[in-house]
């Protein structure tokens, strides 16, 4: 590595003009790590870029034009029209369903996890230790494997094939509760709670105006994790739903692919659908990146 950096220094320093030269000498670029990062970034971005370019092509152009050259013959508009016109606009319904599942499930599960985490982290009460032990054990339980039993159980009560059947099983996340508990312990000081008590604040008031505020970074992180988890979930809706009006995007796009699987004449519709399901989430995600506290997750390793 040092060989690389000195080589860079040797080649760039003379190239720089007068005043810039010392800066180069002080901060030469580490070539290898930078190259590694660029290759990694290309690996991650190029497929998304390809779908963006492919969405500008009509179905014929998709097979006949060079892969990374966008086409401007009205392909984009006609693809979008075909997508939204497909089956009386069912794509719009899928997008709406995804939003309902992800926001509804995300908000509710964050409230559940935040409340439970605060109670377990800041109070000792009857059974609190046992509840926490069960939650830690449940973190290890692969929830995906429970989907079919969950389906069978909900089917007994005739609750499958509904919004509730997709949202309810995702409301409790042992990992989210665990994160909130750890964060509450670390970020809500006993002294502040004690001071609020002396001032006559009720326990509820302390939770609402002190605890929940201090836990906000953890709550935002948990919400985003849950939002993404639910948005990306495929197996649960796949098992629970058989009415395509209730499908989320993941499920809908897959059914679109299966319908069109035999006939490549429809690929451009799927391409447009794939693009539209990536863009909003990517924008939301990258813009909210600074509110993420992923170190919470790293901190969660020390079980």
């Amino acid at each position: 590595m040092s060989a690389v950096t000195t080589r860079v220094r040797a080649t760039t320093a003379p190239a720089g003009n007068g005043p810039a030269a010392p800066r180069f000498r002080r901060r030469p670029v580490s070539l290898v790590p930078t190259l590694i990062l660029i290759v990694g970034a290309l690996y991650c971005v190029l497929p998304v870029l390809w779908i963006l370019i492919a969405s500008t092509k009509t179905n014929d152009e998709l097979f006949s034009t060079p892969p990374f050259v966008p086409q401007f013959h009205g392909g984009f508009l006609s693809n979008m029209q075909a997508l939204f016109g497909f089956n009386h606009g069912v794509f719009g319904q899928w997008a709406l369903n995804s939003v309902i599942y992800a926001i509804g499930g995300g908000v509710l599960s964050t409230i559940v996890a935040g409340a439970a985490g605060y109670a377990l982290g800041k109070y000792r009460f009857v059974g609190s230790k046992w509840i926490f032990r069960i939650i830690v054990a449940a973190v290890l339980l692969p929830q995906v494997m429970l989907v079919i039993p969950q389906f069978l159980l909900l089917a007994k009560f005739g609750m499958t094939n509904s919004y509730a059947s997709v949202i309810l099983p995702q409301l409790v996340s042992p990992f989210a509760i665990y994160l909130c508990k750890i964060y509450a312990e670390a970020s809500v000081p006993d002294e502040i709670m004690e001071a609020a008590r002396i001032d006559g604040g009720s326990e509820w008031r302390i939770f609402w105006s002190v605890g929940s505020r201090l836990m906000m970074p953890a709550l935002v992180t948990v919400f985003l994790l849950q939002f993404i988890g639910i948005w990306n979930n495929y197996l649960l809706p796949y098992v629970m739903l058989n009415n395509d009006q209730l499908y989320p995007l993941t499920e809908g796009l897959n059914s679109l692919m299966i319908i069109t699987g035999g006939q490549s004449a429809q690929y451009s519709i799927v391409v447009a659908g794939v693009l539209l399901s990536i863009v909003p989430l990517a924008v939301l995600f990258l813009s909210l990146q600074r509110y993420w506290k992923i170190d919470l997750i790293s901190g969660g390793v020390k079980l």
Binding site: C44, P47, F63, L146, V172, Y234, Y238, I297
Partner: protein
Amino acid sequence: MAITHEASPTSALAPNASRRRRRRTSALPVVLVAPAVILLAVFLIAPAIYAIDLSFLHLKITGGLLGTGKPKEVWAGLANYLATLGNSEFWASLGRMVIVAVIGVPATIVLSTVFALSLDVKRARLVGITRLAIFLPYAVPGVVASLLWGFLYLPATSPIGGKFIDYFGSTGVFFSVANVAVWGVVGFNMVIIYTAVRGLSPELFEAAELDGASELQIALRIKLPLILPAVTMVALFSVIGALQLFNEPTTLKPLANAITSTFSPLMYVYAQANINNDIYGGAATSFLLILMTVGLAVLVNVVGRRISGRETK
């Protein structure tokens, strides 16, 4: 939940008067924890118990010699488990999952660690934008990522030589499936490891720097051993993720003949329960998989702890 009440004597410690008063007067913590406990009981514990119960039952046709009566659930003992363990297709699905895991898990661990360490090299450039770019696929749902890569693999549309390379061939398909999975998770794992690297105190390597250690030496000899707990966690996530392999092969299935409806163990369970309508066998297979997952999780944890324990000593 009955379990919660048994623990009451243990919590009767705490001599502090004010604390005792608080516990007596406030029902708040119980109210706050109740929704989580109820949901946990209804949607995790009950289905798990129900699945265990089902796994020991099977249907028996009763009523007359012709079996015209309603089928009845009867005790099956270990029959469902033995049937699964004796089914070669179950083992084949496990084998395929292992192949995908052997390709995907090390790739995920190595790539995310290398990216994280590269981000932390002092004089690396383009750090912000590349970090964002590598994180981007995490925002792409697994199913959508599979469709996306499906187009990249498909000979008719492939920009990466699908006409010449058979991405859906009997060998290629394992790499294709593993690649989609790695692509989806590498950024998230990178951020986890990067956070651990950033958490290290700079004093740890300033001395080495003064002694003339290269960035590579610092990364491999000092940083890497210290972030092994985070790497272990990434390994754990990846192994558990591999056991749950479902989305990628299911989505790629219409495109690839090499992917059967029982390609991975979870697909096997799904096919068993929903296509063959054998919910009892499906429950037994699920429970076997849960046992394997928990066993593997414990194993990865123990191995990881041993490695990081030896390194820090």
